[in-house]
Symmetry: C2
Subunit: 484 residues, 2 copies
């Protein structure tokens, strides 16, 4: 490893036309799309930031078919862009312009293969929609806790390939923590069957963790064994105005201690975010009477139907009111009230789209550094771009802040403001990295953060990643140009 | 990756004598042991099953010194066996006979570098003793939950390198799940600083998971950022006679639902195990009056001091008594009573040493298959070796059973019985693997399970592991001969 010298990729053993014909045969007529109108939806991301090209969209319906497709591509040196629900935010599931390989869509592989309530596992195809997996778990009286905005259309293979986060990470972990076993088609077309549903297994290297979060650059995830949990029967949702961001971290520690470590959601929202949401989104209610700088949306949940969380929550909040950490608070009295509180949080990013151009940062710092980060980063961007409006919100319980900047109210065009993106990146990410933080907490690298990754990561770490890529995909055919 | 062709290791650039002199200088007099009496304790495992050799025992006191040692070894092609507390059970931390490289002991790197209660993290040197880390966490009013028999002498670098399990896995996960960041000296002597204390960080491949569980074959872990949790303030311990092993999995699901998912310990013990423990170990009390085939040791714990776990536990146990899952039960009324129940469990393996030769299997199956496994494996070994006595106990909540066989009471010498180890392995492991299980749930592979790994793992999986080993350690100097 002293020098990264990928073994010279073997010259293709198959000509391109023959390979494409084999692929077409392997997936059948329903699995091959090459008419422009059929292909187009796969070649643009949902936000319309990226468009690309490909020779064909290929939609295999089985692991064997995926293996045949990848094997033919490997033999001919044809590039492969894997795609699930195509809901990613970093351009990782859309090919580059001029790409002449195949787009490998997993959407026809959408079967729940097995469910084992006593083992608390569910085995699924990679193309299953996240919400369908949640529903299958619920039918078996279990919880699959991965939950995020795109859950109605994102697919689990993409969730795993990007190590998706979402609103339940605090209690249940990221997608990585929710997977026990994987089935992967390797870059040479062989199938690795690692579909084990075990809580303990110390037999060699942790191969599954290589593929989770690799954004399709090391192989194609085709199936997974996922962890299930008892269903929550007691859910409490509260909304609290807090003294300042430091109060958020202090209150989190108290809540974890005082409620049996039952905090499943913990989101920070600034007053300015509530104001624009009230302004732009219908049917939003301001939960508290007064006006305060910072608020928390708090969710506790547990499987015990005896109802112990409500009094525990009240006790912690009352003490925090006495101590001045909390300035005012309300607890939802119904599921409808709880939904209304969550809606305020969920609509905030949408409301921001009405405020002109937005420069977004998905960052994380140690939970203890969140107050410092918010103070320093806000001051730094305001100094660097006078008039910029900071909307910082998100998963403060994990140290993950969506630090979004809206254009000044006067004196800027949207285009000119968005032209400041890279300069603002540097201002914000320098502070993040100085605190030992992450420049991509949950969205991944894809194409849009590649340059930032190279800028901030040590040469040793980049070299390690390149060594792994070269070892597993020496031809560089898997999701070419992404991540590294 | 079509064929595993590790890049040809470069010819050593440094002669051996110069390299050893550099190492000696890098670690200083206190870090270099070559007198036979000083070296000997490092060259045998604690059970006395393995002894080996080395050119010297090297004990660096800093990451920089480890890097200098490994760099010199890499330049001269000298092998390295990393060692922590040397408490492993698979011979992975002791060199082979005839080994002429160095034994790299981490025991002088034993500083707690930092603790951050609000971020719930502790940063430690790899040579810290596990119990010292638990104590440092407790001083900061936090819990570091990794707990196992050897905790008074094992060291965290070894715990991470073997992905240690223990008694709290059910609630807190294996060692792998408890590590947020790592510092690793790579096989070429460079330092990878991945000491990040983040809950969310999606910036490239999950490098830390490569080194956790790799048993020192991919690099030397020198430091780690570990997760902390709220301290349990409410701990309930119960002992229950159960109808059969199937009742154990059913009761576990009920307990997780009925107690806010607070089950932290869940161990199964057979009557025969209690009998030999009563017979051979002083001060052991039989917790229940009657005699039953199978028992459970149950521990619930949570951070809430309000005392809600006791009534929740009673409710679940009463219903299980009514339903016939539980035949009798007792709940500890004091810490002393709880300690006595745990002592019965902890002394069982010791009691077994008085029953002649023991053939051990550390296996896991899906939790739902534990009853089938116990029935089928017991019948199979009794048929294969009439008179053999099965002592199957352990972490049934994780599907992890220590399936230990004692020699028949008559007709066998210990030596002859132990000669059946490989044949018994095949009988037990065939059943484990047929159920999608693991032949090493928590102890690892080391040297004693290498042949079993090769026997049961698919060629694809073995090839993937070898590809990683060749990519990261092309000279094969890291813990040579272990795992693969």
């Amino acid at each position: 490893m002293n020098e990264v010298q990928p073994s010279q990729p073997a010259a293709p053993t198959l000509d391109r036309a023959t390979a494409l014909a084999r692929i077409r045969e392997a997936v059948g007529p329903a699995g091959w799309l090459d008419a422009p109108e059929d292909v187009a939806p796969h070649l643009a991301d949902q936000r319309g930031l990226f468009t690309g090209a490909c020779a064909a969209v290929v939609r295999p319906a089985s692991t064997e078919a995926v293996a045949a497709v990848v094997g033919a591509c490997a033999a001919a040196g044809i590039g492969i862009v894997p795609q699930g629900g195509n809901t990613g935010l970093v351009g990782g599931s859309v090919p580059f312009p001029g790409f002449d390989g195949i787009l490998l869509s997993l959407i026809r592989m959408n079967t729940v293969r097995a469910i084992d309530p006593l083992n608390n596992t569910i085995t699924v195809d990679a193309g299953c929609i996240l919400a369908d997996i949640q529903a299958a778990a619920a039918e078996a009286d279990r919880l699959f806790p991965l939950s995020l905005g795109a859950e109605g259309s994102c697919r689990i293979g993409g969730n795993l390939s990007t190590n998706a986060g979402g609103v339940n990470v605090l209690r249940y972990g990221n997608a990585r923590e929710l997977v026990l076993g994987l089935e992967v088609v390797l870059p040479d077309g062989r199938v690795w069957d690692g579909l084990r549903g075990l809580r303990k297994d110390n037999t060699g290297y942790a191969l599954k963790h290589l593929f989770v979060g690799a954004e399709g650059t090391l192989g194609v995830i085709t199936g997974a064994v996922l962890k299930l949990f008892p269903r929550p029967r007691d859910v409490q949702t509260a909304f609290a105005a807090i003294r300042d961001p430091a109060a958020a971290t202090e209150l989190l520690a108290r809540l974890r201690e005082g409620t049996g470590d039952s905090v499943t959601g913990y989101e920070i929202l600034p007053r300015v975010g509530i104001d624009i949401t009230l302004q732009h989104v219908p049917d939003i209610v301001d939960p508290l009477d007064g006006r305060y700088d910072q608020y928390l949306l708090i969710e506790l949940s547990g499987p015990d139907a005896a109802g112990g969380l409500r009094p525990a929550l009240e006790t912690v909040l009352e003490k925090a009111l006495e101590d001045g950490l909390v300035l005012d608070a309300t607890i939802a009295e119904s599921t409808a009230q709880a939904r209304a509180l969550w809606k305020l949080r969920e609509e905030l990013p949408f409301a921001q789209t009405h405020e002109g151009g937005s420069i977004k940062h998905d960052v994380a710092v140690p939970v203890s550094r969140v107050p410092d980060f918010l103070r320093e980063a806000t001051a730094a961007v305001e100094a660097a771009l006078p008039g910029v409006r900071v909307f910082a919100f998100g998963h403060v319980g994990d140290g993950n802040i969506h630090f979004n900047l809206s254009e000044p109210k006067q004196g800027w065009t949207t285009q000119a403001f968005l032209g400041e993106w890279e300069r603002m990146n540097r201002v914000v990410h320098d502070i993040v990295v100085s605190m030992g933080g992450s420049i991509s907490a949950e969205h991944g690298i894809g194409r849009i953060k590649k340059a930032e990754l190279v800028h901030y990561r040590s040469p040793v770490e980049l070299d390690l990643m390149r060594t792994l890529k070269a070892a597993l995909d020496p031809q560089g055919i898997m999701n070419p140009g992404m991540v590294l």
